[in-house]
Symmetry: C2
Subunit: 326 residues, 2 copies
């Protein structure tokens, strides 16, 4: 693996199965209804990293082998992720995603709400094509927890006193629950032993947390052209994320008062106004350290697995989760 | 049954099982998250007719007997219905439902979108507690069709040339698919023979159509105080329903032109402005006739069943579906 770029390695390890997952998605996401068909067609252009299918297939490969059910499950988790993105774009009033107009921008909010529902219900329909109710039950529970996490985030909007613990609880629900499920289902449906199933679930959880922290950093410091999505939306929506929580808790009283003023009245200049405060703070280093430590947690969970290309890629993904934003 | 009010008869026939369904709902719709718990608490005040659980339990009772699974299924369909109502209230900007502030009015649209998702995912989680994936699969498919129906409705908003056929296709998806499912699951889980399962599904479908037509009439002609919800929203959203489709297709050219003017620029006076046109049209009689014919279709589906109190109530519900709005 040394020297092989991670995406090429993924291609080599699970390329065929990722393609088969894409086929499942393409076959499922069709509709006789021309309006729905147009939206489905448009939404294929949001095609992202496919992180969740990748995670599910790689943990399967690393812990026993990929079976037919895994491809269904990989398509299911991607559909759920897509549903949450469509609804997130409504909540955030986002105009672009992956350089493409969001469903709410291209059509309207009503269409986005219903299209998200369409994807949610479709994913459950697909999950129930498996032999037992086990996956349906786990997926139902996990998506329920995702919703609770997102609701908590809405509740805490505008709370400039949000603490680190509450932040972690929110991202554990809204992001890490689903990546933990990918690890769990990947290993379980590969008939791995219980200790490995637990370890893969924990791998997914730690990785999800690290990814979300990186996403939150990008929203504060990233480049719109490069990321292809509307940024700064956390500030606009007064959602406190880890760098800001750290900044506020370590700033001088005078600085903290100024920062709170900016946060309380957000506009398009807020990101720039905060920059000098971040420069004289350890907030980004601190956040980086937290993300790194979670990525290390994730990597440690891999120790029970035999040394295979899939295991090495899982380790590299944990590395990548942190690097991409720091 | 003669002379016994229909609700008392329901009480006698399935009172215990409806109560057990309420218990399932109350146990399921709990959360450790205080924000979610508050919304759940508030939403119990929307408690409506429980038409769908009633249908499911009555068709079960009439076609073989109510089992434990039926109470779970009844709670599942009610949760799905509640999820669609919560999202409908966002789409319609509705302020009250059953005399109580909607989730979007009391909290905000974001909370409503996520709370609807929470109810959807919770209903699937509950459905997957049954032994097989059959119900999950049917419920997943039906809710998917509901979403397609609602999306078609959005697409046709503002289309003043909507024809009857397209209207029926929309309400068949957004409303009748779920009531058809209630009939299907009620009979199937009572181990009724296939002909009865098909008949009960068709009963649910015809009844759902009749109910939706009645709802659409109420939105045009009802009394807000009596119905407890915001009315006239179809006009505000430029959604053409059966009475208007008939009115437009039978009005003189001059009248039709005036009506189109009102519909194209809706405001709070539109309902009153349309009243004189309706008075000199057969639109309401025609709509009534259509609803009555669907109710008759529904009643005819009951002929295969043994004559029991449950069957008689199903017949009366079909009657009631039409009477309540004409």
């Amino acid at each position: 693996m040394q020297g092989v770029p991670v995406l090429t390695a993924v291609e080599l390890a699970i390329g065929t199965e990722l393609l088969e997952t894409e086929q499942v998605l393409a076959e499922e996401l069709q509709s006789d209804n021309p309006y729905v068909s147009d939206i489905l067609q448009h939404s294929t252009r949001f095609r992202g990293k496919r992180l969740r299918p990748m995670l599910l297939l790689l943990t399967a490969k690393a812990s026993g082998g990929i079976r037919q059910d895994h491809k269904i499950l990989a398509a299911v988790v991607e559909m759920i992720h897509l549903a949450t993105l469509v609804h997130d774009d409504v909540l955030d009033d986002a105009e672009t995603r992956r350089h493409v107009a969001t469903v709410n921008a291209r059509w309207n909010n009503e269409t986005s709400v219903l299209f998200g529902d369409y994807l949610f219900t479709h994913s459950f329909h697909l999950a129930s094509s498996l032999e037992t109710t086990y996956a349906c039950r786990r997926i139902g529970r996990a998506t329920n927890i995702v919703c609770e996490g997102e609701l908590s985030q809405i509740k805490e909007r505008g709370n400039l006193d949000l603490c680190e613990e509450a932040y972690f609880k929110i991202i554990d629900g809204k992001t890490a629950e689903l990546t933990a499920l990918c690890g769990h289902l990947g290993a379980l449906y590969a008939q791995a032993e219980p200790a490995i199933v637990t370890a893969m679930e924990q791998y997914g959880r730690s990785l999800g947390l690290a990814f979300q922290i990186a996403d939150d950093v990008l929203d504060l410091m990233g480049n719109e052209g490069k990321t292809g999505k509307s940024l700064g939306s956390d500030l606009q929506k007064q959602k406190l994320t880890l760098p800001l929580i750290r900044l506020l808790s370590t700033a001088s009283d005078a600085d903290a008062a100024e920062i709170r003023q900016f946060l309380a009245h957000p506009d398009e200049t807020t990101r720039d106004r905060l920059a000098p405060y971040f420069e004289r703070s350890d907030a980004f280093q601190y956040t980086h350290q937290k993300a790194k430590s979670l990525a290390n947690d994730a990597r440690r969970q891999l120790e029970l697995l035999p040394m295979t290309p899939a295991r090495r890629i899982l380790a590299e993904i944990a590395e990548f989760a942190v690097q991409r934003s720091f």
